[in-house]
Point group: C2
Chain length 338, copies 2
């Protein structure tokens, strides 16, 4: 039998996400049970499709943050369980709709739900998950947290529309991009952390600290994702590299390269941007332009700056193991692109 | 100057929907202003698309029912305004998604939003409207009504998935169909009326009466729609007739005809069902089968039965002009298919 001390040591040695998994395991078991039961329906296609996505091995980072934020200010459990499950449903609803909008074939290493059940079912099951998310929130009776999450829901959709409107738009600015990643990604991280803190009765300072932590972590997270889509800081080519380019997504690495490249370099980018059939050689040529102008490194530097802001936001929260862990989680999220 | 008496007389002579419009005009002006302001966004495509749909001349029957239900038990206004606008946003979000799911080209006599802005924008703006709907509900602070509407939201999506799963399924039963129309249509009518009553502090009896009124009216409404899609009781062919057939939608007229037709008649139906390019002659042949088995008349008879149930539900509500008007609205909704 493995001693508790050994378990703790092993956990400490593990990476911060695994340590977060261990620290939130009791509550996350409740969250996962709730997620499964609320994905159920007498209409077979609903649980079939929903569970296919939900059980496909996502890390469930967002609901873990809700649970962790609740534990930071109290013992956890309580309404945090419902909010965590609701946050994950909102996220999964977004994934289902995004895969339709982006014509994505793959998600989490297997065919996207829309490739198995079709676009129509993906749209409607996304709507179902969103409705179930709101039902779980309503059950808490906590109208203030409902306000945070319903606002996040509208802002996320608005951000997705903004991103869509800017697709292939060469005039997209870094400020436009900052607004897109805030709205489409960071606001849900923000809400996930904020409602977790609220569920444990955090005061205004604590609530605001966790909101800022989530917001900044979410921005860093998306910046890293967008750098990784071009191979990360090292520009290493691997699977899925160039997806954003082929979809015409105006992310920071490409915005900066377009702004600073010469005529020939801009032509290399624009000839591949938004071209679903752009070759790997074309993607490599674009990454070479990015490396000449250091745009992947600078994207990661911006991610680092937001990561620091996330960590600093926790300074007003009393010191604890959970606080230290949340600081480490930020570090780890950024490290994955080096 | 037209005297008030003359105005009242003219209003009484008008059809019930026009009289409902007149009776709810003051509150509906507030609802319409709220709808317009909440469809706004700094992302231009959002209000452009949302207003294109919202201002395309729908009757706004659902929010009018919310306002009317509130007036039935009180003076109206108050939180009913927010709930009415939220109900209309939920309905419009559904229309945007349905048009994508059904590949519909037209909506309310003009090109569907997806034909102008594309499927992607229609999906995302639908999500935005749903998020805004929940924000308007949250502002009321009324968690019980939020429960009614969030539940409706999930059930509606579930009903749409069920309908999708049953598309072209020759084993679909009248019971399956009853569940589809309850979930996809009637539950929102039910919620619209119920939260209106709740917003005026109706007691449990009043709340339940309005919920039943809305539910039964909604079922009648959808049955009439489904009969109209084959020309109504008279089987008169006109624009859009046969859309459901071509989309493979298993509505009651076709379910009954398949159940009772002989081999040759079933073949006439199955050769056209779900065929986007079925000719008008094929549709006419299917309608002829329906007339031989009386399935359009029987669909309308079922609509009438639900209409009666809606009217009877109001018997427990104290007599008033508004109650009489809500009774007449039911009659009118069914009459449109004769």
């Amino acid at each position: 039998m493995v001693s508790v001390l050994t378990q703790i040591k092993e956990t400490q040695a593990a990476n911060p996400i695994d340590r977060l998994l261990a620290a939130t395991a009791t509550d996350m078991a409740k969250v996962n049970a709730l997620i499964l039961s609320r994905a159920d329906s007498h209409v077979e296609m609903v649980p079939d499709l929903a569970r296919y996505l939900i059980e496909s091995g996502g890390k469930r980072l967002r609901p873990m943050l809700t649970v962790a934020a609740a534990m930071l200010f109290g013992k956890g459990s309580g309404t945090a369980i419902n909010f965590a499950a609701a946050v994950e449903f909102m996220h999964n609803a977004t994934l289902l709709h995004d895969d339709v909008v982006d014509d994505s074939d793959m998600r989490r290493g297997k065919p996207a739900a829309r490739m198995v059940w079709g676009n129509k079912a993906s749209i409607l099951v996304g709507d179902f998950l969103l409705g179930q998310a709101f039902m779980m929130m309503v059950e808490t009776g906590d109208i203030a947290s409902l306000g945070v999450l319903s606002s996040a829901s509208a802002v996320m959709a608005e951000g997705e529309v903004f991103q869509l409107a800017k697709t292939g738009d060469l005039t997209t600015t870094p400020e436009d991009y900052a607004e897109v990643i805030r709205a489409k990604t960071a606001v849900l991280f923000q809400a996930a952390c904020e409602v977790g803190a609220m569920s444990s009765g955090a005061d205004e300072t604590g609530r605001q600290a966790l909101a800022t932590y989530g917001l900044e972590l979410g921005k860093a997270f998306q910046l890293v994702d967008d750098a990784l889509d071009y191979g990360g800081q090292s520009g290493t080519l691997g699977k899925n590299v160039g997806d954003d380019l082929r979809e015409g997504k105006m992310t920071l690495p490409v915005i900066l390269a377009l702004a600073e490249g010469n005529v020939a370099e801009r032509e290399i980018i624009t000839s591949a941007l938004g071209q679903a059939d752009a070759t790997d050689a074309q993607v490599s040529a674009v990454v070479a332009v990015m490396e000449r102008h250091n745009t992947l490194v600078r994207t990661m530097e911006l991610a680092q700056a937001h990561a620091r802001a996330a960590q600093q936001a926790l300074a007003v929260v009393p010191e604890s193991e959970m606080r230290a862990l949340l600081v480490d989680v930020v570090e780890h999220s950024v490290m994955r692109a080096y």
